[in-house]
């Protein structure tokens, strides 16, 4: 399977089947998680009452924001060291999607924060700020790529930024432990395993899986488009050369 990710041709074949599967399975998981979250699980008054149901979007979105940036950094690293074109294509595909999920995390967090903490936004909160800047990093990555004149240079510049920006990910993850924050500390992904009640935990994990699958499917679709675009550019160049 891994070889399929190294070779564009094999990747196209693999993703033609995998992307729809990912969409389908992802949507199923998300819908099931939402159904559980919105109608089945009991509300938790300590977490703001019914508004806590936004958790089933907020937490998966937060996870994906961090995972997608890590993916961007890893893909950039792979491209930088081994020059696998597919790694660059993956990085380019991840950035806008990562930005969307990060924005989703911020939006749902704010919506949840207004009733529970009494504020949409807390400026000196390290967690919120670091997630906001993660969004900035994604946007900066895209702006930087867009301002370069050739694909090769865009890839190199983007890779440098993505690798350097990876400092932010641990900061996000551990910000709640390092600083006083309004935000609760991690209760799912912790060193001693999950501490959340199972009623919440199962739908949350299923939702998380669903978001990951949907994200993966979208990344594959973006990559397919990009591979085809690069092919067209190459063929056009060859045709012009005569």
């Amino acid at each position: 399977m891994w070889s399929a990710f190294a070779n564009p041709h094999k990747f196209l074949k693999f993703s033609a089947v995998a992307a729809p599967l990912f969409y389908g399975a992802g949507m199923l998981c998300i819908l099931w998680g939402l159904w559980q979250g919105l109608w089945i699980v009991p509300k938790d008054d300590y977490q703001g009452g019914d508004i806590m149901r936004v958790m089933f979007i907020h937490v998966p979105a937060a996870w994906l924001a961090m995972v997608s940036y890590s993916g961007l950094a890893v893909a950039s690293f792979v491209w930088f060291i081994w020059r696998h074109e597919l790694a660059d294509i993956a990085a380019k595909a991840i950035a806008p999607l990562g930005a969307v999920w990060t924005a989703l995390c911020l939006a749902t967090g704010s919506i949840w924060g207004k009733p529970t903490w009494g504020t949409w936004w807390q400026w000196d909160d390290a967690r919120m700020m670091s997630v906001l800047f993660l969004l900035f990093l994604f946007l900066g990555y895209m702006a930087l790529r867009a301002s370069m004149d050739s694909r090769q240079k865009a890839a190199r510049a983007g890779a440098i930024l993505a690798m350097v920006g990876a400092v932010n990910v641990p900061l996000i993850k551990f910000s709640v432990d390092l600083f006083t924050s309004l935000h609760q500390p991690a209760s799912v992904i912790t060193a001693d395993g999950p501490k959340m009640a199972a009623v919440y935990l199962t739908p949350l994990l299923i939702s998380g899986l669903g978001h990951a699958l949907l994200f993966g499917g979208l990344v594959m679709t973006h990559m397919r488009t990009e591979i085809r675009e690069r092919r067209i550019a190459r063929l056009t160049a060859q045709a012009l050369e005569g």
């Binding site: 800047f133 350097v164 400092v167």
Partner: protein, 221 residues
């Protein structure tokens, strides 16, 4: 490793930093200007001013490091100096670090040194704390300059890339800004903050030069 080219890079950058007019006086002017404009907008309530003072100094440091750095590497690309540095045989990361350090000495450190004065302008009580803060500002601004250098190197081929630099560099500033203000406000959990600030600066000094070197090679291509 032969230190001569690195030392030469440092000297050239330092001369360049001072050449554009009155050297360190200018960043001071910039900081002073910001310090004057802020209370104008805010009003002169003593309590408010005291509360915002340190924050404003941090922000001024961050912004003026951006303004200073915008041209460093871009100028090198435009006048052909970068080609020469890339071919000295010295590790480019060391050259980039030397240049950044020179610009920090010329423009960043004077700002940090001026910070107690500014704090007083913001109605802070004169105390030994101000001197301690000076050290924090100096540390933090060093990290700003290194991360800013990465942004500057990345956008060196893009004319008027100054604003692109901001977008790239600001997220990199965040850890430093967070630890720095935490160390200053001295709230709960701030015991380790000066150490964390130092660590984040050290990290910047260790990682940023390699990123700069890669970005500069790209800019020459």
């Amino acid at each position: 490793m032969n230190a001569a080219p690195i030392w030469a890079a440092f000297r050239q950058a330092f001369a360049e930093a001072w050449a554009g007019g009155a050297g360190a006086l200018l960043p001071l002017g910039f900081l002073g200007g910001a310090a004057v404009l802020v209370p104008l907008g805010i009003g002169s309530d003593t309590e408010t001013l005291k509360a915002v003072g340190p924050g404003i100094i941090w922000v001024s440091l961050a912004l003026s490091s951006l303004v200073t750095l915008e041209r460093i590497f871009q100028a090198d690309v435009e006048d052909g100096t970068l080609d020469l540095w890339l071919q000295t045989g010295a590790p480019m990361a060391a050259v980039a670090a030397a240049k950044t350090l020179a610009h920090w000495l010329a423009a960043g450190l004077p700002l940090a040194l001026a910070s107690p004065l500014l704090a007083l302008m913001f109605q802070a009580q004169a105390s030994l704390d101000l001197i301690a803060h000076l050290g924090l500002y100096a540390l933090g601004s060093l990290a700003f300059f290194f991360w800013g250098g990465v942004g500057a190197a990345l956008s060196a081929t893009v004319r008027r890339g100054g604003l692109l630099i901001s977008i790239i560099a600001l997220p990199l500033y965040v850890p430093t800004a967070i630890f720095g203000s935490l160390a200053m406000t001295g709230g709960i959990g701030s015991d380790g903050a000066p150490m964390l600030l130092a660590a984040s600066t050290l990290f910047a000094c260790a990682v940023a030069p390699y990123a700069m070197a890669a970005a500069l090679r790209l800019a020459a291509d």
